[in-house]
Amino acid sequence: MKVLHTTSYNLLTIALQGELDECCAKTVRSELDSIFATENYNAVVFDLSMLEFMDSTGIGVLLGRYKTLASQNRPVYITSPNTNVDKVLKMSGIYSIMTRIDR
């Protein structure tokens, strides 16, 4: 798993690359938290176009980040999940709190 990020116009984009499961969840969590702590932004987009696999552990990771960001009034968006990742996101109900935006 790789966590990449860029910020532009106060929009922090996080690209997740690889397979997000329990094996790397802890590392991903702390990488995300340190990005959130150092960047300058008021909204976050998770770009999932390079995420090949995610299970419910990944849902937990996203929800955990969401809680902190929401408490800081920073909206969170999701973009470009593949079909299988999209299915998990849909059934978890996550799209009701993180809007899916596609270009």
């Binding site: 397979e19 499961d21 329990e22 094996c23 969840a25 969590r29 696999f53 299970d55 419910s56 552990t57 849902i59 937990g60 990771v61 929800l63 955990g64 079909t83 299988n84 299915k87 998990v88 059934m91 978890s92």
Partner: protein
Amino acid sequence: MNNINNSMTMRIKALSVNESFARSAVAAFCVQLNPSIEEIGDIKIAVSEAVTNCIVHAYGYGEGEMSITVELYDNTVAITIQDFGKGIEDVDKAMQPFYTSSPEDERSGMGFTVMNAFMDKLEVISESGQGTSVYMEKIVGKEAEVKC
């Protein structure tokens, strides 16, 4: 469900580095039934959920083993994932969406819900102290066509 055509059982250590191996190996074995890419994705995620539960819940990240059996029928995959860990006291409660015994680990409580949604059948047999066995079935592909 017709006569069993092929089967595979593997026993692996309950280590999180084995998660991706386990789901890929099951997926690779199922390829014999010509599943679609989406069906393979469904199977991988269901396996990943059950395997993660063995590592996280059955053995609490400690030492242990799990066994994964895949049986191929004419157009059905049957998968059994078993551990010899601490077991589940109340299976009905455990299977409820969003229920998790480890919210502090940011677990979503969606594991069983995902297995249920992505597979066509789910049966969980467990008892406190007796390990857990998760049995799942999925109808895949159009026709069993064996190629090499």
